[in-house]
């Protein structure tokens, strides 16, 4: 048996493992490095999360907080506004993932084949990811203005007079407000999805393609029968992180739709609902209840994705 330099061996057999204290004593330097970020997480994530959970069970009154049990959860679950915002969030998230993942796979596959100039293209595709979502939303606000926006102006310039109303149309249509924000999200997020997919592509052993070529597989058949199945963990990762991002969508929708998710709440997400209840209506208990329900939903999505899809991969690399 060969050991890496600096690694330790322990005698085999029951009771021979080092005690927790001994293990800690040997690694205290590394734990101390982890301590500052842990404290920051506890202060700025853990404590506010605890406060949100606590607030959801109390009602704020001028004389102090009064215990309210599950009252605010009942209000929340009976609120059409909450369900509308949740439905919107899910709809926009699904539309985004359904478009962006296939598109990213196609682009990444093409980039993977390019021998020269792929790096500048990767940088260009990734740039929107580095741009502030508010700045992007302001830019798309100009693009999607129905009367004088860049997109409709271009359509009119090529002779199309019946142009979509985009941000002025709350209907569920390909030329409505939801379609506009989906295009924005795809433009903004595509670069990240391409880079992750490209990393997945480059981790596929070339032997598989060589074997397929010997067996007479066409490039398209190799793509369908080797590339796509091999990208399964990548897709699962993207679906998981993309779902969590889509559920917590806020800044761009707020910038385009204002506090009420204009027009006619067609752009209101769950986080916007929470924000509006808390900071516009001063109903912090309802906002906290929404935050708790949202936390549970995200936890459930992550749990299902992990136990259903990723556990096998994690076990495989142990």
């Amino acid at each position: 048996m060969t050991l890496a330099p600096g690694s330790r061996t322990y005698p085999a057999g029951p009771g021979a493992r080092p005690s927790l204290r001994a293990a800690f004593r040997g690694s205290w330097v590394w734990y101390s490095f982890l301590l500052p970020p842990l404290l920051l997480i506890l202060t700025f994530v853990g404590y506010p999360t605890y406060l949100a959970f606590e607030q959801s069970f109390f009602t704020e009154t001028p004389t102090g907080d009064v215990f309210a049990g599950t009252y605010h959860f009942q209000r929340l679950l009976g609120s059409g506004l909450f369900w509308g915002a949740l439905g919107n969030t899910v709809l926009l998230g699904v539309a985004f993932l359904v478009i962006v993942i296939p598109l990213a796979t196609i682009f990444a596959s093409m980039l993977n084949r390019i021998r020269k100039g792929s790096t500048p293209l990767k940088v260009i595709y990734f740039l929107p990811q580095l741009t502030s979502s508010v700045a992007i939303a302001i830019m798309f606000n100009y693009i999607f203005q129905p009367d004088w926006g860049l997109l409709n102006g271009s359509l009119r310039a090529v002779g199309i007079e019946q142009v979509p109303l985009w941000l002025a149309d709350p209907r569920l249509s390909f030329g409505g407000s939801r379609a506009a924000v989906t295009i924005l999200a795809v433009w903004s997020g595509l670069g990240y999805f391409i880079i992750v997919t490209l990393a997945g592509l480059q981790s596929i052993p070339t032997d598989l393609y060589d074997a397929a070529a010997i067996d007479g597989a066409t490039p398209l058949e190799s793509w369908f029968y080797i590339t796509l199945p091999s990208l399964r963990p990548t897709f699962i990762f993207l679906i998981m992180t993309g779902t969590i991002d889509a559920l917590s969508r806020f800044a761009d929708l707020w910038t385009l739709g204002g506090p009420g998710g204009s027009p006619a709440r067609s752009l209101q997400s769950v986080v916007m609902f929470m924000f509006q209840q808390g900071f516009e209506n001063s109903d912090f208990s309802l906002a906290a209840a929404a935050a708790v329900v949202f936390f549970v939903i995200v936890l459930a999505v992550t749990g299902i994705a992990f136990w259903g899809f990723l556990r096998r991969e994690f076990l495989a690399i142990r």
Binding site: L167, P170, R171, T255, G260, S262, P263, A264, E280
Partner: protein, 442 residues
Amino acid sequence: MRPTHLLMLSTALLFAVPLAAPAVAQDKTPVTVLTIGYPDEDSTDAVTGTTSPGIGKLEAAFEAANPTIDLQITNIPWGEGATGYAPKTEAMIQANESCLYEMPGAAAFARRGDLVDLSKLIEAEGASFENLWGPQITTMRIWGPDNPKGLYYIPNNTGERVIHWDATLFEHYGVEPLSKNPTLDEIATKAKALTGTDPVTGKQTYGYWYQGKYAVWQFLSIAHSMGANWGSVGDDGKMTVTWDTPEYLKAMQWFVDMAKYAPAGALASDSMPEGFLSDDNVVGIIPEGEQGYFIQPLIANPELQKRFRSSFNLRGADGVGGVATISPMAMASSCENKDAAWTALKWLAGSAESQRYYFESNGRLPTSSKGAEAIPAIASFPDGDVVLTQPQFAEAPYPWAAAQPRWAMQTALEAALAGTLSPADALKQAQAETDAWIAEQQ
């Protein structure tokens, strides 16, 4: 010098400087203020060349007039969403970070008991109190836990809403100019006449305009002129809001009908029409036009003054109408230097210097009697009488202006304008959502 001596000296200085610093400012009483949306530094508009003084000018003018008070201003931008003024104000109130607040949502904070009832300070001052704000001191009283008709803020400046109209388009179509106090019928007739192809330029023009994301204000102004009344706040603080009435239904039907004479994308707009204050303007009548933002360029350009005119906003039978766009200045209950803060609040809301500053920095208009004399440029404006007196005819501020009744009505109105709900159904939806919110108010 040895390194150890240098270290000792540095350490001694490190402790000595903070200890010595307060001694310098000890003879002044500190008063902290949160202001919103003023320039941090002096700046010059790249297009008009208009200069805007930074917030430091206001602080310096105050301290020159009140040498015993150290005014400490925290100036924040209006912002959007999570970085907007609302969460920042909330955070500062909860952390007792400021004594005075420019506070657009003052009514909600007053209901929570976070603000000082200024009427008690006025009473304590007795005859020496100089009322520079006239009847606003009475009309702006709202409900608070310690006084059902308390005065929890004084306006320090205001925007205003007027009816803008493009005299050139009226001329091109041969339509009589809009009167100073137009009626709904006059607006409807002339808006229809101004919609079409401009006989002179050949451009498509529109008779009417509304700012989609803020359409609720125009709607309320229309409805009030048709006799609608949103409701009231009782002595017990309970609010009654009635949206689902025949008057509001008639107003919404009128608005939806008039929207046909506006550009199709108006619902997506959050500002004046594209091209406003330029030769590219294609909109004839702009009810609920935002005057404040445009006074400075109009004053700077006499040609624009002739083309872009102002008429009074719509009024109801009570002689008032249109949203009050005042900026409320309030004092936090947690303020430790209330006497000095009260002196500062009166100066910030009433003095000629402060009123001049608000106008020069942001185009905000005066709310106190000293303001007009401080800004003579407005008086010489062609529609100067409209600009100077319109704020006096605005409705009393709506206590729900930053709460669910507004969002409920705005959303319902958007749906009606987009055609996804009938006006009757839209009002029912707004009423149901508002009732649900009211039921939760303490």
